[in-house]
């Protein structure tokens, strides 16, 4: 009986037309896959806005690249695998715009990826599906130059001020 309201809420929550799987931790210079699974076969377009530090490698479905955006097209299919590579350490926000052209729905998803100097701790699956290159347009190299991002003073700075305040108070 207590489950009823929960089930009702679950029914009322709009269901996303696609399931995007992104590894949360990867190692620097390591290739990793973003897997997109659809609820059944459809025609779906995806646009991945790659931040500096993430590079496109290839995709299992046709793609096109413009500036730092990679567009993927799933036509009458139900999944796509997009392989990326992290060129430097950091915490990256990956914005994925999607449009389901059969259901007429669209939206944006945001995923975070942590790239550390050490290789990813996640055990590597032996049967990890790899994206077979189905390059749609020639020379699909991202035009965005890989420039080191400047760390903004944030947490460390605040901690230093707080420590200084405590020290001054004691003094």
């Amino acid at each position: 009986m207590k489950l009823a309201p929960l089930l009702l809420i679950l029914l009322l929550v709009p269901v996303c037309a696609l399931n995007v799987n992104v590894p949360s931790n990867v190692g620097v210079n390591e290739k990793f896959n973003i897997t997109v699974k659809l609820n059944g076969s459809s025609v779906v377009g995806l646009a991945l806005e790659l931040p500096n530090g993430l590079k496109f490698v290839n995709s299992s479905v046709p793609y096109k690249i413009s500036d730092n955006t990679v567009a993927l097209a799933i036509v009458n299919g139900s999944y796509a695998i997009c392989t990326l590579k992290a060129s430097k350490c950091g915490r990256y926000e990956l914005k994925i715009r999607w449009s389901d052209f059969l259901s007429g729905k669209n939206g944006t998803l945001v995923r975070w990826i942590y790239v550390s100097a050490k290789p990813s701790l996640a055990p590597k699956k032996t049967a990890t599906p790899t994206a077979t290159p189905t390059r749609y347009m020639p020379t699909p190299t991202p035009t965005t130059p890989v420039t080191p991002t400047k760390k903004t003073p944030g947490f460390e700075f605040m901690v230093a001020i707080l420590a200084m305040l405590i020290a001054l108070r004691r003094w």
Partner: protein, 383 residues
């Protein structure tokens, strides 16, 4: 120099691709996977002239229509080709509005005939939509403002100069489809064609099966010895060959005294006496779903049975004068009209059939109305 020309040519080509319109997708007759993929990718990169709706439509056509446009030949013998799923329809006739309700396409209707608006019990949903005049006097401006994909009207009404020619000047993308939905000879095929055009084949098939069931049933019970029948509107307005009522009585197994005489015409009262019909069936445009229908039909009935000099006409003498509403005589409800007339002509052969039940089945199963047919009047004397 050559390099510059080559670069310019490539530039023009690539700009051309990006600026392709929806119809360009059909340049080679159908949307291919490569074309749709390109359209999706360009759209996602904001490098396309196609709107979200365009890509959705192209995807729909690719998946459900195998990339090809849909083509039918309508009842006016015009070839109609559509390149997108039909989402907005104007029904310029009552019969097409009823056909759309049967097909389950009420949600796609955006405008209706003024006569549909008057029939709130018959069309509780569609009567709330904007009026676009009538098939006799269409308001082209109102039609165009509704941005329909298609307009459905009768084969004869209105004249093409009043509809197609005027619409073409404002919005050539609007297609006019001429399907009658009231003639027994074309009704079945028309329902199938519209069902195909609107991707409502399943509902069209369900209707056609029901249509065939009653047509075959009546056909199987028509006796060898046929009854002489006279068909009219007002007592002296004969409904000859080619009219809906004439066809209905012939389909029901009647031997119509107007055989060989075409269309609507006036007759002498003496001629009716000479024909000596055993049954008279009169046509009435009273709206059968309305509570006033019974009185209007009764009035017509009395005009015939009390017609001076017709006391000895067998039909009048034997109490076999009937009035039928156009709602069942010439509309997608035609099988109901057929069963009704067949029972009037051969009451013994059809004593186990109740036309009222057939009508209730039609109203509930096909029009999806919560309407008790006893509240209306579709035949007089009433069922």
């Amino acid at each position: 120099m050559r390099r510059i020309i080559l670069v310019l040519a490539l530039l023009i080509f690539s700009v051309g691709l990006a600026n392709a319109s929806y119809m360009d997708l059909f340049k080679d007759g159908r949307i291919t996977k490569a074309e749709l993929t390109n359209a999706v990718l360009n759209y996602m990169l904001h490098k396309s002239n196609l709107s979200f709706e365009d890509v959705c439509d192209a995807s729909y056509v690719y998946i459900y229509w195998h990339g090809k446009p849909k083509t039918i030949v309508d009842s006016a013998n015009d070839t109609i080709t559509i390149y997108r799923p039909v989402k907005r329809i104007v029904a310029l006739s009552v019969d097409s509005a009823e056909a759309l309700a049967i097909l389950g396409a009420k949600n796609e209707v955006v405008g209706v005939s003024k006569y549909v608006k008057e029939e709130k019990r018959h069309f509780p949903v569609l009567s709330k939509l904007p009026s676009v005049g009538s098939c006799f006097s269409p308001n082209v401006e109102a039609i165009v403002e509704l941005h329909p994909d298609i307009v459905i009207t009768y084969v004869k009404w209105p004249d093409k100069s009043e509809l197609e020619d005027k619409i073409k000047l404002v919005d050539p993308s609007i297609k006019v489809v001429r399907l009658d939905f009231y003639k027994a000879s074309t009704l079945r095929e028309e329902m199938e064609k519209l069902g195909y055009l609107l991707d409502k084949e399943e509902n069209a098939t369900k209707y056609v099966k029901w249509f065939d069931k009653w047509l075959n049933f009546v056909k199987s019970r028509i006796p060898e010895e046929k009854v002489k029948v006279y068909t009219c509107g007002k007592p002296l307005k004969a409904f000859g060959e080619g009219t809906g009522l004439y066809d209905l009585t012939v389909m029901a197994g009647g031997d119509n005294v107007l055989k060989g005489k075409k269309g609507y015409f006036d007759v002498d009262p003496e001629q009716v006496v000479l024909w000596a019909p055993q049954v008279i069936v009169s046509w009435c445009y009273a709206k059968g779903y309305s509570p006033e229908a019974k009185e209007i039909m009764k009035e017509r009935f009395l005009q015939i049975v009390e017609f001076p000099g017709w006391e000895d006409v067998p039909a009048v003498k034997d109490g076999r004068v009937y009035v039928i509403s156009s709602d069942i005589g010439s509309s997608p409800a035609l099988p109901v009209g057929l069963v009704t007339v067949a029972k009037w002509l051969y009451p013994e052969k059809f004593k186990d059939v109740d036309p009222k039940e057939v009508m209730q089945e039609y109203v509930s199963e096909f029009l999806h109305l919560k309407f008790n047919v006893s509240e209306g009047c579709f035949a007089y004397p009433t069922w």
